[in-house]
């Protein structure tokens, strides 16, 4: 659906960490940190990877760069499987695949000057030598908004935002085309965070970069990403275009996650879906759907059968039985328990099953909120909640009708982007 060529394709990537115990270090189990994720990143595109702590997003980012050796799967970079490459081949490829780390305080060696931190890779890959290295480093510093004279300083002399800029300059030094941004702005204050996000977006335009943007802050991810993958316990729960994901989240987890973000708007309180309980341990993930222990719309097969990834609308993948033609329930009660009704009719369930369910939900919106496992405080704010559902219902209708149009415009947008 996009014109841009696929730069990096991840197929069924797995990373399991063994748990060893006892005298002979016998393996007694494994932490399935990443358990079969697939997605692709197109040229000049930003893919956001969001999820709560412990869902495996950082492990995913590191293992697809082979900073952690994956257990299984394929990572195709321009068609080549990098997991099968030898060490020498891999080393030269690392010029194209870079990473910006989360913590600007621990990711820079305190004993190295900025020049040697950034210049190390340049010398190692023999891009330049001698005084040229210094020139290149100065150029990079200038590009990321630091003064070239900082070249002789040490990391401790910089603030968090400045260090993150050094980290960015280091990643850019070899002119890569794919950068994993692992929580690159999470440790920064709001005003500095905005500066770094803008810088990342400018650099993407200038150097034709693709990002895998790993973060737990959904508002930042939405701002920067073209497409977003939502991870839960080592698997991708939902993967869609940014706007599609935020306008029409399908997976119950995505819906809860989106609603849980506090909005800087005092009048939009108390529409949150509160999930019960904690994220289960990846050492012993729940059977069937991994989300079923916290899911408000959990039904019979969820507990036993592992859901497949289905694509209810083109480009919108979701790993949930609700949208799988084989399991999709016709029972409107189950659909009513879903905190947010999907906008477009789910093609796979057929119109008869879906339409009444939708009507049901929109008319019974208020009781739905109180009955469901995940309740909003409907009683407290009965009036605003009611008005908002009416508004939403209106928006829903108009969106359904203009669905095709918006899809077209999205295509046009992405075409325009690749032209630019």
């Amino acid at each position: 659906m996009s014109v841009a060529p696929t730069l990096l394709e991840v197929r069924n990537l797995k990373k399991h960490f063994p748990i060893k115990k006892g005298l002979f270090n016998r393996q007694v189990g494994s932490v399935k940190a990443v358990d079969g994720i697939s997605f692709e990143v197109n040229a000049n595109e930003t893919v956001g990877l969001v999820g709560e702590s412990g869902c495996g997003k950082t492990t995913a980012g590191r293992s697809l760069l082979r900073l952690l050796e994956p257990t299984d799967g394929e990572v195709l970079y321009k068609g080549q499987d990098i997991l099968k490459m030898g060490p020498a081949e891999m080393r030269s490829l690392r010029r194209n695949l870079q990473i910006i780390f989360q913590d600007p305080f621990s990711s820079l060696n305190p004993r190295m000057t900025i020049e040697s931190i950034i210049g190390e890779a340049i010398t190692f890959h023999k891009v330049a030598q001698g005084p040229e290295v210094r020139e290149m480093v100065e150029g990079l510093l200038e590009r990321v908004g630091l003064q070239p004279s900082y070249i002789t300083r040490y990391p401790h002399e910089f603030s968090g935002g400045q260090r993150q800029r050094v980290g960015i300059a280091r990643a850019l030094a070899l002119n890569p085309d794919f950068i994993v941004c692992d929580e690159a702005v999470s440790a920064l204050d709001v005003s500095v965070q905005a500066q770094v996000i803008n810088l990342l977006m400018d650099l993407q335009q200038e150097f034709n970069l693709s990002y895998l943007f790993i973060a737990h802050d959904l508002s930042v991810v939405q701002h920067i990403s073209d497409r977003i993958a939502v991870m839960y316990l080592g698997q991708i729960a939902e993967f869609a275009e940014c706007d599609e994901l935020y306008d029409n989240p399908l997976h119950p987890y995505t819906q809860a996650l989106l609603s849980a973000i506090p909005q800087p708007n005092p009048r939009r309180r108390a529409q949150r879906i509160i999930l019960k309980g904690d994220v289960p341990s990846p050492m012993n993930p729940p059977s069937g759907c991994r989300f079923h222990t916290r899911c408000p719309a959990c039904f019979a097969p969820c507990k036993t059968v592992e859901p497949r990834t289905v694509e209810p609308t083109p480009g919108h993948k979701v790993r949930c039985h609700l949208y799988d033609p084989e399991f999709a329930p016709n029972d409107p009660d189950i659909w009513a328990r879903l905190p947010r009704q999907p906008e477009a009719p789910v093609t796979v369930t057929g119109d008869e099953g879906d339409a009444p369910a939708k009507r049901d939900a929109s008319s019974d919106a208020a009781p739905d909120g109180t009955d469901g496992v995940a309740s909003t405080e409907a009683a407290e704010t009965a009036e605003p909640a009611a008005t908002s559902t009416v508004e939403e219902a209106g928006a829903e209708r108009s969106d359904v009708s203009s669905d095709n149009a918006s899809a077209e415009s999205a295509e046009a947008d992405s075409a325009a982007k690749s032209n630019a």
Binding site: N198, P264, D278
Partner: protein, 367 residues
């Protein structure tokens, strides 16, 4: 939560009044005015949000209220902290110990490090109960189990004998809340209680605090850097910058009609999720130029003037605290003008959708 009809415990009784608080740190680099003339008050049953970036002095303010500032190098050099009619700055250490964890409780940012790893959680809660309340051990244990149940810990009879490492971050924060609330405090100081937690867990904790507050009618001083959390939980908000409160008012007024350039800049640099479809990913975020100055580099007069687009020579003098409307103050020479540049959004729905609108206006003003 002022407008919530469910809460009946709010009243005009002022629980805490901080007046002209100055906390300085005497270091080798000179005197650092971390908190420099901060005044606010919290009424019974209400929540005041203290917002600011790191280094703005919000945590020092809260620690000053409990007199937990390490001394030396820190010192409360001026100001009053009136709590229930007595000035906390004048109390002796022994008297202060009776206030701490009893009338005023605190929840810290890091649930992971604020519990002692070598004692069971029960042990730690019971210690606090025995210290402040007239109970024997068995009663205290019963009460601790009740408190754990109240904060939503499943199977509290068993969890009470667990060690902190056996619990998740959200659970630990619940334990901290149970401990803080066990003495039925009049004031709870929550210093970034959800910052270290995931969004879905954060939602649970905020919900919990809100319902417990409704039950107990306590006041909360909520310290955070997250404007979203403030919007969801607070009745009043004080925006801090470089040791001073730059804007203060009720949450609706401050969020919808901000009058200080820093507040406006802070709102605009926030990437917000707009669920109404009107959003542009290509839009650059608004950026406040420069960085928060270090305390030794605080500029004279208005401390924001080095980063402010409205700044003039006049700003080198200390700006007056202007009362724009009853209860809404801003420390800026040009507060009226700055506010006139932002669009008042009184209608709830407009505000919900048009959170971008003030941004654009402010950006125009900037040009």
């Amino acid at each position: 939560m002022a407008n919530d009809s469910s809460k009946t415990n709010t009243s005009d009784e002022v629980i805490l009044k901080v007046d002209g608080l100055k906390t300085y740190f005497y270091t080798d680099d000179g005197v650092l005015p971390s908190v420099d003339g901060v005044s606010f008050e919290i009424k019974r049953g209400r929540t005041l949000g203290l917002v600011g970036e790191s280094g703005s002095g919000k945590s020092v303010t809260s620690l000053s209220v409990l007199r937990l500032i390490p001394q030396p190098p820190g010192k409360i050099v001026d100001g009053q902290i009136l709590f229930g009619g007595q000035d906390l700055t004048k109390l002796t250490e022994a008297q202060m110990r009776k206030v701490r964890g009893n009338d005023i409780s605190m929840i810290f940012q890091e649930p992971m490090t604020s519990l002692n790893p070598v004692f069971t959680v029960g042990n730690q809660i019971i210690e606090a109960i025995l210290l402040h309340q007239d109970m024997d051990y068995a009663e205290a244990r019963e009460y601790a189990i009740d408190m754990l149940a109240k904060v939503g810990i499943p199977a509290p009879e068993q969890r009470i004998d667990e060690y902190p490492h056996q619990m998740s971050g959200g659970m630990k924060q619940r334990v901290m809340i149970a401990m803080a609330l066990s003495s039925k405090p009049k004031l709870l100081i929550a210093d970034e209680p959800t910052t270290a937690l995931d969004v879905t867990i954060q939602a649970q904790i905020l919900e919990l605090l809100k319902s417990l507050q409704g039950e107990a009618g306590m006041s909360i001083l909520f310290i955070t850097h997250d404007l979203g959390v403030v919007a969801e939980t607070c009745d009043d908000v004080a925006v801090m910058y470089a040791g001073r409160i730059v804007e203060y008012g009720d949450v609706y007024t401050v969020f919808e009609k901000p009058a200080h350039p820093y507040t406006i800049g802070l709102f605009n640099s926030l990437p917000t999720i707009d669920t109404t479809g009107a959003r542009g990913r290509e839009d650059r975020l608004y950026v406040i130029p420069g960085m928060v100055p270090r305390p030794q580099d605080f500029p004279s007069g208005c401390r924001f003037r080095t980063r402010c687009q409205f700044a003039t020579e006049k700003c080198a003098q200390l700006p007056p605290t202007v009362e724009l409307e009853p209860g809404h103050t801003a420390a800026c020479w040009y507060a009226e003008k700055v506010r006139a540049g932002t669009q008042p959004t009184t209608d709830g729905s407009v505000a919900a959708d048009g959170s971008v609108a003030p941004n654009e206006d402010a950006a125009e003003v900037a040009r």
